[in-house]
Amino acid sequence: MNWLTNFIRPKIRSIVEQQKDVPENLWQKCPSCEGMLFHRDIKESLNVCYHCGHHMRISVEERLEVMFDDGKYTKVAAPKVPHDPLKFKDRKKYSDRLRDTRAKTGQEDAIRIAKGTIGGCPVVIAAFDFAFMGGSMGAAVGEGIVKAAEIAVKEKAAFITVPCSGGARMQEGAISLMQMPRTTIAVNRVQNAGLPYIVLLTDPTTGGVSASFAMLGDIHIAEPGCMIGFAGKRVIQETIREELPEGFQTAEYCLEHGMIDMVVPRDELNATLSRILNIIFNKKIKVKKGDNNSKKSGGNDKKVVSGKPSGVKAELTQKTTADKAVKNAPANTNADARQKTATKTAARTSAKK
C-alpha cells in the first residue's frame, strides 16, 4: 500500500486496475539498438529486430520451421541414455536440475532431431535447444547427434547440425568431454557416405561444441552477429588482461578469419540451404530465360531432361567444392523443389559414390 492506492478515488482506481489486465511483454527492447519491438511484429520477423537486423535467439521449434520447406518436418525421438552417471552435485543435485528443467521445458534434453526437406532435398537436422541448460552437450546430446547422423546415412539425406550451446555439460564431467570424439565419428560417417554435412552456427557456439562437430562441416553457415569461438570472452580477458578487439568472436569476425563460409540472415536460410543442397544433390533444374546459369541452353525455357546431357547438366555434374558451390550458385536458381523423382535420382547418384 502506498499513498497512491490509499488516496486514489474508486473511479480512477478502476482504471488503474483495468490496466493490470493488459498482458505483459507486449513490447520488448532490442538488446542491440534498444528499439521497441511489438510482440506480433517480432514474431513475424522471426525474432530479428526490424530496426537494426539484430538476430535474437529463437526457440528450437521455430528454428526448425524456418529451415524446413513450408515449415513442415517430422520429429524423431532422441535416444535415451543413463541420467546423471556421475551423481553430480553442486549447490543442487544434477538429477534435480535435470528433473526441474525437464518439467519446465517438457523436453528430455538439449537436442532435437527432425526430418524433412529443404529445397525438396531430404534433410536430417540435429538442433540444439538453448532453453535446456544452455544447450550444453552431455551424453544425451551426443547420442542424439550420433542417431541423427545414422538416420541421414540410412536415408541418404543431407545432415545439418544447428549448434546453440555454451559447450560441454560440466555436470557430466569427462563423459561430456567424450562427446567430442563421438560426435566427430558421427559426422564423419555422413561425410564418408558422400552426403553433405552442413553446420548452421547460431548464438552461441563455443567450447567443446565448437571444438568438435561444429567446426567439421563441409559448409559452415552462421547467423548474423552470433558468437562463435572456443574460449569464452571472460576467460580470454582474464588470461591476456587486455581489451578484446571490436566484434571479437562474432560471425562476421569468423567470416573474415576464414572459419565460416557465409553469414546468412534468418529469413534467407531456407533459400540458401535449398540452393546449396540442390547443387550438391545435383538436382535437375528448370532453366529460366536470361538466367546466368544457362550458358548453352540460354534462352530456352525448358526443363533439363535427365539422361540427356546439356551444358547446364555438365556444369552441375561437376563435383563442386563447398566454396565453388557457393560462388557459382546464382541467387535465383529456384529448384523445382517438389520434383520427387529428381530427389530419388540424386539419392541414387550419391549412393553410388
Binding site: D90, Q171, G173, S176, M215, G229, F230
Partner: protein
C-alpha cells in the same frame, strides 16, 4: 621446488633425515638406527597420505612441477629422438612437442604437451597450453605416422588449450576438432598416457587413442575444478567440492570406463621418483603396443571408433 601442504610432515621428516646424514660422518650406530627409524616413518606416512588422497589433493599432485614432463619422457624412453617443428603455415608451438624416434626399438611418432620446468622454460612452452599451431602440428605428425605406418605415442599434460585472441583468430576450435578427427581416422595404433593434467579439449585433441592410460595421480576433466566452481558455486573457493563432483581422478575415470587402465606411481607420487615413473609408463606403452601389433587397418579404426561410440551409452 613447490611444496604440497599435505606433505608438510613428510617433508619435515625428510629434512631431518638429511640433517642427520650430514652429522653422521662420525658413523655412530645410534644415528644410523635413528635414520632407519625415521625413514620407515616417512614411508609409512607417504603410504598413509597417498593411499587416501582427496580429489583436490590429486589435482595438486597432478600439477606438481617436479613431475616428469614430456621432455623427460622423450629423453629417457625414446632413442634417436628427432623433434620436428611447425605446422607449415604460421608458426612453431612449443607447448606441444613431437617428433620421430625409436621406442624400445620400434620406430614411432611421439608427441605431447610440455609445461616446462624453470620459469624461463614455462614461458617458452606457454605453460603447456597449446595454440592452434600446436594442434595442427599434431595433425601433421599423426598423418606422418600413417604414411610411414609407424605407431603413435601421445603424452598428455595440459591445463587446456590456450585462450587468447590470436588463438581464437587462427581457429583454436577448428584445430582441436580436426585434431580429434585425425586421431580417430589415422590408420596406425595410437597409445595415449595422461601423465599429469588432462585439461578438457586441449587434452582430448591428442588423447583420442586406441588405448588411453592415466598415471595413478593424474587427472582428466572437462573443466578445471576452479573454473567449474566459479560457474556452479559462483566462487573458486569451492574448487575442492568441484574436484570431487567432477570425478576427475584416474580411479574415477577407470570406473566410468572412459580410460583403459591406470599406471601405478612409485610411493609418494611421480615427483619423488621420476625415472622410475617414466619406466613404468614405458612398460605400459610397450605392453599396449604388443597387444595392438601387428594391426589390421580396418579393424583398428573400427575398434577405436566403436570404443568412443560406446561412451556414455547405457551399459
Amino acid at each position: 621446488m613447490s611444496k604440497l601442504d599435505f606433505e608438510k610432515p613428510i617433508l619435515e621428516l625428510e629434512a631431518k633425515i638429511n640433517e642427520l646424514h650430514n652429522v653422521s660422518s662420525d658413523d655412530s650406530l645410534n644415528i644410523t638406527e635413528e635414520i632407519d627409524r625415521m625413514t620407515a616413518k616417512v614411508d609409512r606416512l607417504l603410504k598413509q597420505t597417498y593411499n587416501k588422497l582427496t580429489a583436490q589433493q590429486k589435482v595438486l599432485v597432478a600439477r606438481h612441477e617436479d613431475r616428469p614432463h614430456f621432455k623427460d619422457y622423450a629423453s629417457q624412453i625414446i632413442t634417436d629422438f628427432t623433434p620436428l617443428a611447425g605446422e607449415r603455415c604460421f608458426g612453431e608451438d612449443q607447448a606441444l612437442l613431437g617428433g620421430l624416434g625409436r621406442f624400445r626399438g620400434q620406430s614411432c611418432v611421439i608427441m605431447g604437451h610440455e609445461k616446462g620446468q624453470t620459469t624461463e622454460e614455462r614461458i617458452k612452452h606457454n605453460f603447456g597450453m597449446a595454440r592452434p599451431e600446436g594442434y595442427r602440428k599434431a595433425q601433421r605428425l599423426l598423418k606422418m605416422a600413417e604414411q610411414y605406418q609407424i605407431p603413435v605415442i601421445t603424452l598428455v599434460d595440459t591445463a587446456g588449450a590456450y585462450p587468447g585472441v590470436g588463438a581464437e583468430e587462427r581457429g583454436q576450435a577448428e584445430a582441436i576438432a580436426k585434431s580429434i578427427e585425425t586421431c580417430l581416422n589415422v590408420k596406425v595404433p595410437i597409445v595415449s598416457v595422461i601423465i599429469g593434467e588432462g585439461g578438457s579439449g586441449g587434452a582430448i585433441a591428442i588423447a583420442t587413442a586406441d588405448k588411453v592410460f592415466m598415471l595413478e595421480h593424474s587427472i582428466y576433466s572437462v573443466i578445471s575444478p576452479e573454473g567449474c566452481a566459479s560457474i556452479l558455486w559462483r566462487s573458486a573457493s569451492h574448487a575442492g567440492d568441484a574436484a570431487e563432483a567432477l570425478r576427475l581422478t584416474a580411479q574415477d575415470m577407470k570406473e566410468l570406463k572412459l580410460i583403459d587402465g591406470i599406471i601405478s606411481e612409485p610411493l609418494g607420487g611421480a615427483h619423488r621418483k621420476r625415472e622410475e615413473t617414466i619406466d613404468l609408463v614405458a612398460d605400459t606403452i610397450e605392453n599396449a603396443f604388443a597387444k595392438l601389433m601387428p594391426w589390421n587397418t580396418d579393424k583398428i579404426l573400427k575398434d577405436r571408433q566403436e570404443k568412443y561410440l560406446a561412451m556414455g551409452r547405457a551399459a
